[in-house]
């Protein structure tokens, strides 16, 4: 039975990979700032604390059981035989990393990157549940994401699982390819964000009795835009490290990944700025920020597999898609997603995965688009029901939404007992004529 081998690289390659992984936490900082800035001021401290807590929970749960179920290329796994072919569906590692030497091997570096990536995925639903998602419930939901949903899907693509084997087993290109986590991090996080938004329902006052949405603008555009700048640095590390560890790209090949990542974000942000300028008369800061991150997300899967010109096109489409998807979810589908997480991470992530199938240029790419399509079908047909079901069950036993009174007061006061901006009031004496 064919087992996909782990990539081999030199000491220098290992050092480069470590440097890239060190950048990845900046993507998390950026997402946390974006989520906080796009929420209300009375929930700002809660949002930042929740970001820290979910990253912590994700790392611990991933250490306890996540990696045991995700595994890595060439390592032990459970395989079922279906019509004569081996389908690798779950890793068979011991719990608590007992079977893994942390010695700079590709598997150990992949573990480190994944431990950070699962935190990134967990930050995404925080954006859609902003201003109404209780802190303990968000931690419990993160445990489900880091312990079940994420490792399962990530094993299928990065652990040598059945999606990665589509090429070897069925001649579909190289099997499902995703260098930087456009599917496993972004789309899984984005679909979980959709499940959370469905379960929590809209914020108080978001929709009128006739279903007309009210604009609830984010409270701090500076935080949002600073977050965007930090996400670029984090994404450069994420996509480059992922390209080395999960698609076998040589360290020199990460230049292409970094260039494509930057171009996709740049074009997506400009496309979003132009569209909002045309539609509203002025560029909208929060939507441009969404476009920027949407471009980064769209670049993730194909960053090391397409030309820079294709990355520009992918970014352009992502920027346009995100703007219209935000409006579709908010206005037509009555999904209250304060940070646009579903559009930015699920929609743009899926676009990036499909774009790889359409535009990737490498030897033996015939059938690649069908492998990518099967991956998308798995995200929608398996991951979405799974993550919704798990969170629905959690909500039955442990309600996830804050009380009406708590939401009215703001999550800072109701859950933390103090606000993020204690002096954030108008001091009347400053306006007394002297």
């Amino acid at each position: 039975m064919m087992v996909l081998p782990a990539p081999a690289f030199s000491e220098a390659g290992m050092a480069v990979c470590i440097l890239f992984i060190l950048l990845v936490p900046l993507a998390g900082v950026g997402l946390a700032l974006i989520n906080t800035g796009l929420g209300r001021s009375r929930s700002a401290a809660h949002s930042m604390l929740a970001s820290l807590c979910v990253i912590a929970v994700a790392a611990l749960v991933y250490f306890a059981c996540g990696f045991a179920w995700q595994g890595y290329l060439g390592r032990p796994a459970h395989v079922v035989i279906l019509a004569g072919k081996g389908w690798n569906w779950l890793a068979a590692e011991p719990l608590f990393l007992r079977g893994l030497k942390l010695d700079g091997s590709p598997a150990s570096l992949a573990l480190w990157l994944e431990m950070l990536s699962v935190g990134l995925a967990a930050l995404i639903p925080l954006g859609s549940g902003a201003d109404r998602w209780r802190l303990p419930a968000s931690c419990a939901s993160t445990a489900l994401l880091a312990g079940i949903t994420y490792p399962l899907f990530a094993h299928w693509i990065w652990g040598g699982g059945w999606l990665a084997q589509l090429g070897v087993n069925y001649g579909l290109g190289r099997g499902f390819v995703d260098a930087g986590g456009g599917s496993s991090i972004q789309a899984v996080g984005g679909l979980t964000a959709l499940a959370i938004a469905w379960i929590l329902g809209p914020r108080l006052g978001k929709y009128s009795p006739e279903g007309i949405p009210a604009a609830i603008p984010g409270h701090n555009a500076v935080l949002v835009l600073l977050g965007c700048a930090l996400t670029l640095v984090g994404w450069l590390g994420l996509n480059s490290a992922g390209a080395i560890l999960f698609t076998g790209v040589a360290p020199s090949g990460t230049v292409l990944a970094a260039v494509n990542t930057t171009l996709a974000a740049a074009v997506a942000a400009l496309a979003a700025a132009m569209i909002t300028q045309i539609r509203f008369g002025k560029p909208d800061a929060s939507l441009v920020a969404n476009g920027w991150v949407g471009g980064l997300v769209a670049s993730s899967a194909a960053c090391a597999s397409v030309t820079p010109a294709t990355a520009v096109f992918m970014g352009l489409v992502a920027g346009v898609l995100v703007i219209f998807a935000v409006e579709l979810f908010e206005v037509r589908l009555a999904v209250d997603d304060p940070s646009g997480a579903i559009s930015v991470h699920a929609v743009a992530g899926i676009w990036g995965v499909l774009a790889l199938g359409l535009f990737a240029r490498f030897p033996g790419a015939a059938g690649q688009w069908l492998a990518q399509l099967i991956g998308v079908a798995t995200l929608l047909g398996f991951v979405l029901p799974l993550t919704y079901g798990l969170n629905w069950l959690l909500n039955r036993f442990y309600p996830q939404r804050a009380s009406m009174e708590g939401e009215r007061l703001g999550m800072d006061v109701s859950e933390l007992g103090a606000t993020a901006y204690p002096e954030f009031v108008i001091h009347t004496e400053e306006f007394i004529p002297r």
Binding site: K85, G367, L370, I374, L380, L384
Partner: protein, 59 residues
């Protein structure tokens, strides 16, 4: 109705999986994969529709 939507999503995915595993001809495989995705699309529409109906009831 949302449950029916999710069941359709799972059914669509099952069609895709079995098309890959059991069908040898590329054309048949492609046809059934697309059919599975079609069923998933119906499931998504149903899930969103049920959310809209629930929102209207709340309003």
């Amino acid at each position: 109705m949302k449950l029916a939507g999710f069941l359709l999503l799972l059914a669509g995915w099952a069609i895709v999986i079995f098309a890959v595993a059991l069908l040898a001809s590329a054309g048949q495989r492609l046809g059934f994969v697309l059919a599975g995705i079609g069923v998933e699309t119906l499931g998504l529409v149903l899930a969103f529709r049920s959310h809209l109906v629930a929102a209207e009831d709340r309003g």
